[in-house]
Symmetry: C2
Subunit: 215 residues, 2 copies
DNA sequence: GCACCGGATTGATCTATGTCAAGCCGATTT
DNA sequence: AAATCGGCTTGACATAGATCAATCCGGTGC
């Protein structure tokens, strides 16, 4: 029998509790990242800006060609973001797990069709916002603006490093880099996806792993 | 006889004119990027925040291991930013020409030692600011803050695409991608640098170019 | 129980790209 | 004019990693 999603038989009031809990999670997260306390006034706006969305395994948050109308905070689950080349091969550009954001920034802010697909690798509980709500929230919450700046900063630096890794590292070094920068991913995602993320074939990843483990 | 830098025999008043001209250049640039007009009040702060700096060909704006105290707007010239791996090989991560900014964001904002070197490929005229002046300017000029957001956005998207290119393109495709995204670079930088930037050997770049041209 | 399926592994090739070495060309220096 | 130098090209060879095909293994469903 198929596994039942833990929400399937939740009565409404329980649902609501979960939703409240997720919001608190997001607040804690913002406090942690910005190293400050979000005031209650701002928290109200935060609550208004986000809504709950579930995406089951193998379902999609975003399809290539459509406009990315969500910015999603992952409260539970795991996702991948990829584009598909002319030969129909998926290339994963980003993973996300609890505490990560998923979206196509470019599409989200400029409302242009996205070249990416975002798919759930596990059942996901998300807090999502839209471009309008987001703009609203930024007007009313300095904490949230600050969060945005810090995340921009971080993601810029992370992609910078990833570029370095891809242009100058061997297969083995890329794997080591991944183990050091995002060890969580190794247990969370199957190897063929990790290989795609690293720009390697699954076979090469398998062989490299074996080598590394033998030391 | 060595070429004389065009500034070598400038009297002070001419220097100052050049400096004023460069500031205007920066202002025009900000107006263009933010699609708005920077008010004169803000322009005063802008002028205060930046000073003039010349970096001759093969000289450095930043050395690996030192803290990046400048954010530089290139008014004239061309630069490269690279890191050096254990084997002593340079890997170029970024080029800059007129209208581009050079800095190590991470080092500049967090005042940590940089892993990068920034070197002039041609004689450069720069407008530079420091972290303190920058903070000051951001307090006083919404236009400048907006500029920062737009540039963050853009550079994030650009690095995203560059990652895609490096993990999924063949050598030939990488070259085509460069020709499409930054055709200026091809005339401006020697091929061995372009090769490093693309993560290819100079020989491979040479062969690929030949192939592409024959079509 | 059996068939099936999505991954992971392993071995045997194939190929794109790197590496090494030589020579060329145009610019610069002496 | 000769020597030097930086950058580019070309050829011969080496190799990391891709590709293809077979097998295996643990779960899932019938």
């Amino acid at each position: 029998m198929a596994l039942i999603n833990r929400y399937d038989y939740f009565p409404p009031y329980l649902w609501y509790c979960v939703f409240l809990g997720m919001q608190q999670l997001l607040r804690d997260y913002i406090n942690r990242v910005t190293s400050s306390i979000m005031p209650d006034e701002e928290y109200k706006f935060l609550v208004d800006a986000f809504s709950l969305k579930l995406v089951r395994k193998k379902k999609f948050l975003l399809h290539e060609g459509s406009i990315c109308t969500y910015m999603a905070f992952i409260a539970r689950g795991a996702m991948k973001q990829y584009f598909t080349d002319e030969k129909g091969i998926e290339h994963i550009v980003r993973f996300g797990i609890e505490g990560w954001w998923m979206s196509d920034r470019e599409s989200f802010v400029s409302l242009t069709p996205s070249r990416y697909t975002i798919e759930a690798v596990e059942d996901c509980d998300l807090l999502v916002t839209t471009p309008e709500k987001m703009a609203q929230l930024k007007k009313n919450s300095p904490s949230f603006v600050k969060l945005g700046q810090i995340l921009d900063e971080r993601s810029y630096i992370a992609s910078q490093k990833r570029i370095e890794a891809t242009i100058s590292y061997t297969a083995g070094e890329k794997v080591i880099y991944l183990m050091e920068s995002n060890p969580e991913f190794l247990h969370r995602f199957p190897q063929n996806m990790l290989a795609s993320y690293l720009g390697l074939s699954p076979e090469t990843l398998s062989r490299v792993r074996k080598q590394l483990l033998s030391k």
